[in-house]
Symmetry: C2
Subunit: 214 residues, 2 copies
DNA sequence: GTCTATAAACAGATAGAC
DNA sequence: GTCTATCTGTTTATAGAC
């Protein structure tokens, strides 16, 4: 059972959502005009109203699509691990995958800024993002963390720790422009993402503490 | 010597900058109209062009003012510590101060979103933010981290580690709306900031590793 | 479903009185 | 320095042909 219920979009509808994710993410909701959106989607202005009822409807559809895509990356399809070591290994795998996707993935370049704008603006898309993205992903990570460390998954410490882990990752995307300047990197590509992944893996191990039997 | 050179603004000029920080931070640059800005500053639309040459000029002035204010909080006025233990203690003090200011401070509610928007949009204000805010603050933290751990301040690991620390902090502000839902907190006030501060202090100690003599 | 044309509201900038 | 009134272009939404 996935948290999103609407079917995957296609055709003009999908093209407009792609345009929305790209332009809303780069320039903000107000900064992206319906003309620019329809041009990016290679269609006409009226199609936004036809398919989504208006610009605001497109915003919501973008949030749903982003939640669907990120869930596919951040939620492992398999069952929950049963031992602490397995949970630890799963956290490592997820961390690697999240860093690669968020920090150097092409899609996330617009998706992460889109999400963070919606978080600060507090519009209608916020409920979609919370219910379909934050709650399931954060919840799963808390369960894994709890299994790996022995702390209860719903404890304040575990929940805050998982937020701090997510913060470490997303900052490398939203702050990418200052990170590359300070690191003297040309861009954050797969090679640079590996350096970030190595660092955050080290951080993860230090925060998890020594293994139970160690 | 501070990195900012322009004098602190006052009067109508200051009121417009306050309005810019508040409205640009909440709604984005494009989302804040000159009418809304001048209304918030209790002045007329023409004063934006008079004082800043236009809306874009106000954006730059806001970036400069934000850099000035955050430097005042994030850069300790005293000299660099000389021992590892002193550096560690300074990092703890700075972390507490940064969390209190960024996570529950009233000003940061609009300032942090403003900065992150500018980072992702990549406009003219980015240079101001990098030169007057990121470079000095990140540089100072790297020096302290180097002194506390013995690693070279300009090493890739230290620079990335400091970015990961900053990411942990700022996420609790930009993601505040989802954090409060997930934590079942009414708001992130001083009490909640203390819980976050305690967690991040623990993270800091684990990432710094055991003390040299310990 | 797609598109052009247009309407009605809104944007940022500015002229000119005070 | 401050303000009102206005100019010019752009915005979203929609009516109606195809």
């Amino acid at each position: 059972m996935t948290a999103t219920t609407t079917p995957a979009p296609e055709g003009t509808r999908l093209a407009l959502i792609e345009a929305g994710i790209a332009l809303f993410g780069q320039q903000g909701f107000a900064g992206a005009s319906t003309r620019a959106l329809s041009a990016h989607a290679k269609t006409n202005i009226a199609s936004i109203a036809y398919h989504f009822g208006g610009k605001e409807g497109l915003r919501l559809a973008c949030a749903e699509e982003i939640a669907r895509r990120i869930q596919g990356v951040f939620l492992t399809p398999g069952p929950m691990p049963s031992t602490a070591d397995e949970a630890r290994a799963t956290l490592h795998i997820l961390l690697d995958r999240m860093v690669a996707y968020v920090v150097s993935g092409k899609q996330a370049g617009a998706m992460v800024p889109f999400i963070l704008r919606e978080l600060t603006e507090g519009g209608n898309a916020l409920d979609v993002i919370y219910d379909h993205l934050v709650a399931p992903v954060h919840g799963r990570l808390c369960e894994l963390w709890a299994l790996a460390t022995g702390s209860p998954a719903d404890s304040e410490t575990v929940k805050l720790t998982v937020f701090s882990l997510i913060g470490q990752i997303v900052y490398f995307r939203i702050g990418a422009r200052v990170v590359v300047r300070r690191m003297d990197w040309p861009v954050i590509g797969p090679a640079e993402a590996k350096a970030i992944s190595a660092l955050l893996t080290g951080n993860l191990d230090r925060l998890l503490g020594p293994t139970r039997r160690g």
